[in-house]
């Protein structure tokens, strides 16, 4: 394997893990954009998607597609219930107490999953074929193509929803100014609920399509959530291509860092580069500088 082939493979590996981070990051961005909440339980939605699919497949013996639908439906219901029970009753929550509530939620969901389905790791079968595709000496799995495809699909659906539907526009209005939005007759609370519904659905979908590659267990949400969170922040918390670029950047940094410098320090390398970027551009990579109002 010559150097060029190796570099191609690093790029491929980076893109494929990056796409996973991006997909998870989208869930963070959707909630943040309409509510200003950083939902630390987002990783658990991803976990629920994978674990629920596995158990629908093996315990309930449902066909693959039905199992996926069940998983998305149950996770979405969990996301909605989480919002109704913990976020909505609060009168004027501070952003920090919301952080603790979502952290509590994440611990709770993880605990329930552990009690219900145990601590074992499980692998889902791939959607189509298990033979790698080789391009220019480098290879990826067919499942990676599914990830790329579904990520693009979700972004397109997001764009359409947020810019061309009434509910989507209303959600954007809420993110800009809640008071103003409610004054023009937008039911802000409904929009918050809707954002949890969408992001838990997106999160569970992400959990399902990555599970054949990354495997799934009750505790995968922590690491994946962390990486998704970073992807979303690098991308300036955009629910579109910003987050995708953020995820891909993170994935590429990790893979080239591991391949060319040191695999032990690969996460450190990625974070050092990200910190340097933030130090040079404190307002984020993909957003314009804003003046703060007093």
């Amino acid at each position: 394997m010559d150097l060029l082939q190796q570099l191609t493979q690093y790029a491929f590996s980076g893109f494929s893990t990056g796409a996973i981070y991006a997909l998870i990051g989208l869930g963070f961005a959707i909630i943040y954009n309409s509510t200003g909440i950083i939902n630390f339980a987002q990783g658990e939605f991803v976990m629920l998607g994978g674990v629920l699919t596995y158990f629908s497949l093996t315990v309930l013996r449902l066909p693959y597609l039905v199992a996926m639908a069940v998983a998305v439906a149950v996770t979405t219901a969990a996301g909605a219930a989480f919002e109704r029970l913990t976020i909505r009753p609060l009168k004027s929550p501070s952003p920090l107490s919301l952080v603790i509530i979502t952290i509590g939620g994440s611990i709770f969901i993880r605990g329930v999953a552990m009690l219900l389905w145990g601590k074992d790791t499980h692998a889902l079968p791939p959607f189509s074929g298990n033979d790698p595709l080789t391009v220019g000496g480098a290879s990826i799995m067919p499942q990676h193509l599914w990830i790329f495809g579904i990520t693009l699909l979700i972004i397109a659906a997001n764009k359409f929803f947020f810019y061309y539907t009434i509910s989507g526009k209303a959600m954007r209005a809420c993110s800009h100014n809640r008071t103003a939005a409610s004054l023009v007759g937008i039911d802000v609370r409904k929009m918050v609920l809707l954002s949890f519904v969408i992001s838990s659905a997106v999160g569970s979908l992400a959990g399902i399509i990555i599970a054949p590659l990354t495997m799934t267990a009750y505790d995968v949400g922590v690491m994946l959530g962390l990486k998704g969170f970073c992807a979303a922040i690098i991308g300036g918390m955009s629910s579109g291509f910003g987050t995708v670029l953020g995820g891909l950047l993170l994935g590429l940094l990790e893979s080239f860092g591991a391949g060319l410098i040191s695999s032990g320090y690969k996460d450190a390398i990625a974070f050092i580069v990200l910190l340097l970027i933030l130090f040079i551009r404190p307002q984020g990579l993909f957003s314009k500088a804003q003046t703060e109002r007093v």
């Binding site: 107490s97 509590g104 404190p282």
Partner: protein, 322 residues
């Protein structure tokens, strides 16, 4: 103002007498760790509660303090009393240099940058196997000594650690009532407005960040010499989050609140052992419920409870005094 010092005096008395009730028992061990956690929570509260700057990587400073002190004493035979100030000083320098670029960031960017720093430090602990012992940990750290007296055994560790913890709390109370405390609160409310009023916001934030890191490092050093063993798993992202939780559950900006938060989170696992396998579920649930129904934290909860219980007449007298 006087109330805080009075409360502190009372608190000191309780701390001094408390171990007599637990001598020889296991609970004394828990109280030792509670002291370390209180110190860390008070330190983080300076940054989070007073200056309003989030840090999701404070476990890194705690860990750096523990490892610097541990490596110096275990591998190079340095006296623990020399290692402790070295650890505090070097962490101070790191925090000071890091503070300038990192505190330029706001909101979730700051959250991610501090988180990133925490992860980088965690990886360094794991990877520098020749120095730190890597993931299996560093052994052979000596305990602290004064003359012939060794701080071994729970009773002595208790007084050593709580001594430092009380000092930290006193320092924190003083700071709160000083000009700096008022300036910090101004930054918390509106940084731009405080800058207009002539507060050098950025430098002040860096100073508080450094102070908070130094206290955490001292706590780390004490932890290392009490445990005589350190491993990276004690200083990961989870512990950073746990520290933030202590401060918020306790009540942002309240020094005694930070103690309450630390005390609760140290004791909770002991109490939850009753529910066995369900402990993690109950723990998550408690975090949610407490944050929902005590928005001002335990400190706020205790204060309003006290107000409810006290007769109306005495309350007005108190008010006149305060």
């Amino acid at each position: 103002m006087k109330r805080d010092y009075l409360l502190f005096l009372l608190f000191t008395l309780v701390v001094l007498v408390a171990p007599l009730a637990f001598e020889g028992g296991y609970l004394l061990n828990v109280l030792v760790f509670m002291g370390i956690n209180t110190m860390l929570a008070v330190a983080l509260n300076l940054l989070l509660g007073f200056a309003g700057q989030i840090s999701l990587g404070h476990a890194a400073f705690f860990g750096l303090g523990a490892y610097i002190s541990g490596v110096l004493t275990a591998n190079h035979g340095v006296n623990p009393w020399v290692a402790l100030p070295i650890a505090a000083l070097s962490v101070g320098v790191i925090a000071f240099l890091l503070g300038f670029p990192i505190l330029k960031l706001k909101g979730h960017y700051l959250a991610m940058a501090t988180l990133g720093f925490g992860i980088i430090v965690f990886i360094v602990f794991n990877e520098t196997v020749e120095i730190t012992g890597g993931p299996s940990g560093l052994t052979g750290i000596p305990t602290m000594k004064i003359g012939a007296m060794e701080f071994q055994g729970e009773m002595k560790s208790y007084y050593l650690i709580w001594g430092f913890t009380l000092l930290t709390m006193l320092l924190s109370i003083n700071l709160d009532h000083s000009r700096i405390g008022r300036a910090l609160r101004a930054i918390h409310d509106s940084e731009v407005a405080s800058r207009v009023m002539g507060v050098n916001a950025r430098f002040l934030k860096v100073q508080v960040f450094t102070l908070s890191a130094v206290i955490s490092a001292v706590a780390g050093s004490l932890y290392a010499h009490t445990m005589t063993f350190v491993s990276p798993s004690s200083f990961g992202f989870n512990f950073s989050v746990e520290l933030v939780t202590m401060v918020i559950i306790g009540g942002l900006g309240s020094i005694f609140g930070s103690f309450l938060g630390a005390a609760l989170l140290t004791f909770l696992p002991e109490l939850l052992r009753v529910v066995q396998d369900y402990d993690i579920v109950v723990y998550g649930l408690l975090l949610i419920v407490m944050t929902m129904y005590m928005p001002k934290g335990l400190a706020g909860g205790v204060a309003s409870l006290a107000r409810l219980l006290r007769p109306a007449k005495k309350r007005t007298v108190d008010h006149a005094q305060g």
